[in-house]
């Protein structure tokens, strides 16, 4: 009998600690499945951020280290110098990457560091209990903007793909969403492309994965998916923001 589904060796056989309906698990799985399919599991070094996914190394079956809040791109730059032939990635949330770690991500991208960044954007600080993130939408409620984010107080949410795409260093930047099976398949293709470009030495690769946080959004998992599809994707348009491979063609 032909198996229709097998568990990837990329994920350790343990339950994740993420909330029901959270898409961290999906994001973990498509990244690790991709590495597994590409035969790279024993050849990859990952960097976990601060945030809910600080424990990513408990689930992802590759050599990993933690990074202090926001510093994963600096840590990965250090790793890359020691192991020029390995696959290196960081996995970072929006508080980590777009707020406290803005300096590190911009400079890593500008240097064209040859590693891949998976940016989980759920528009909120999850681990600390639902505070406003730089990516929280205008009007969205959080524990530090209980009546909703206002432009007057916090400005407009940051669009990181668009921002990084202004730099010459990145080889590939795409924003994907994890709100439906079809889009998850598309997201996995983006992940694969990021690794392929990295291995080909093309430069810095960046995939933003729009994600849900039902707990801190105060929504059920299905409603969170609906919100992501309708509201979040409207402010953060999906698509390819940079692709030097394509430009070359």
């Amino acid at each position: 009998m032909k198996p229709v589904f097998t568990v990837t060796e990329g994920m350790l056989p343990v339950s994740t600690s993420y909330c029901p309906g959270c898409t961290h698990g999906v994001a973990h799985r498509i990244i690790m499945e991709t590495l597994d399919e590409m035969g790279l599991l024993g050849n990859t070094l990952g960097v976990a951020p601060i945030g809910c996914s600080v424990v990513a190394h408990q689930f992802m079956n590759v050599d990993m280290c933690e990074a202090a809040h926001g510093r994963a791109p600096a840590v990965a730059s250090g790793i890359r110098r020691v192991h020029p032939d390995k696959v290196v990635f960081t996995y970072q949330g929006d508080g980590d990457l777009a707020s406290i770690g803005m300096g590190e991500i911009v400079h890593a991208a500008a240097r064209g560091e040859k590693f891949s960044v998976f940016f989980i954007n759920n528009g909120i600080y999850g681990m600390t209990g639902g505070q406003m993130a730089p990516t929280t939408l205008v009007g969205q409620r959080s524990t530090t903007c209980v009546d909703g984010r206002t432009v007057e107080q916090a400005g407009m949410p940051l669009r990181i793909c668009e921002l990084l795409a202004t730099l010459d260093g990145p080889a590939y930047i795409e924003r994907v969403s994890l709100d439906s099976p079809a889009r998850i398949r598309a997201a996995k293709k983006a992940v694969r492309k990021a690794f392929e470009y990295q291995i080909a030495g093309k430069g810095f690769t960046f995939v933003e994965l729009l994600s849900t946080c039902p707990t801190n959004w105060g929504l059920t998992p299905p409603d969170a998916m609906k919100r992501m599809r309708e509201e979040v994707c409207a402010y953060y348009p999906l698509g390819v923001y940079k692709d030097t491979g394509k430009e070359a063609e």
Binding site: V62, M64, C65, E66, A67, R71
Partner: protein, 358 residues
Amino acid sequence: MSEKVLMKGNEAFAEAVIRGGVRFYFGYPITPQSEIPEFMSRELPKRGGRFLQAESELGAINMAYGCGAAGGQCFISSSSPGIALMQEGMSFLCGAEVPVTLLNVSRGGPGIGSIQPGQADYNQVTRGGGNGDYRIPVFAPASIQEAVDILYEAPSIADRYRNPVMVLADGLMGQMMEPVMLPEEKHAFTSEEISTAKPWAISGSKKGTRSVVKSLRLQPEVLEEHVEHLFEKYAVMEKELERVECEGLEDAEVVFVAFGTMARLAREAMELLEARGIKAGLIRPISLWPYPYSAFDRISPRTKAVVSVELSMGQMLQDINLGVKDRVPVRLIHRVGGMLPTSIEVVEKTMKILEEVR
């Protein structure tokens, strides 16, 4: 091959760590140590290493952490305000047990302070400005030769204990030139050798086992156990890394305590005092942590005063008092802000102190 050369302190420091096996450097320019990133940017690529100018000291210490976690022999340097910015990283390095060699070519503070020499980082480096229970061994050489010898050895000390090691030099030593014997170059690990030389490191090249380098331990009992483990390690370091040089303690009327350049100044003051018929001794802590408290037990009953000579408002006094244990009056001779005392000034102030305690 070892060779005698005349080098500026900063360049000698950099050459020493390369000869000690370092192949990776991450740095950010700051006076008075910018010759180090300049030297590394020229030398490391020629010697099979990598140099990267970081976007900030925050970037630099975290690159060093990544490099060290990946098994690379890594060195970073900065000066006082830059070291302050790196404190989070130092706590992280200790928690995650990642070896890195650090150099602080210190200057005056607080704040941006001045670019002239200072020793007011004593508390920052010996007590640690980062969060949590951790310790970093700190060595304070008094000559370029001693700095070279310590920096040559530092990467292997860091590896032995899986802990960062810091060398504290003042701006004066960084800018000074002095003939120095450079030691023979050690073997530097290649990326391929890391998985066997440092099996704990993340190298992505082990079959069947997985490495995780981390400082987060969310369960209190697990973190407690980890911190206890760290402190067992620090207890061993306290036994093995204490270094001190004592001179003329037997019959000294006054004993100076000083490290780095100030120890050399104190030594000259000793000679000048001797010409005036006053015997002076010197305790020169080479390791500031572990601090050589037991050296103070060797102070003679004849001694009337212990005098700390420092470029700070007396940050070392706390340790000196712990060593002296109220047996002798402890006094301070200091200059700050980048001002340097002269040996004559130290002699005159010492004469006053002796009058006062007699």
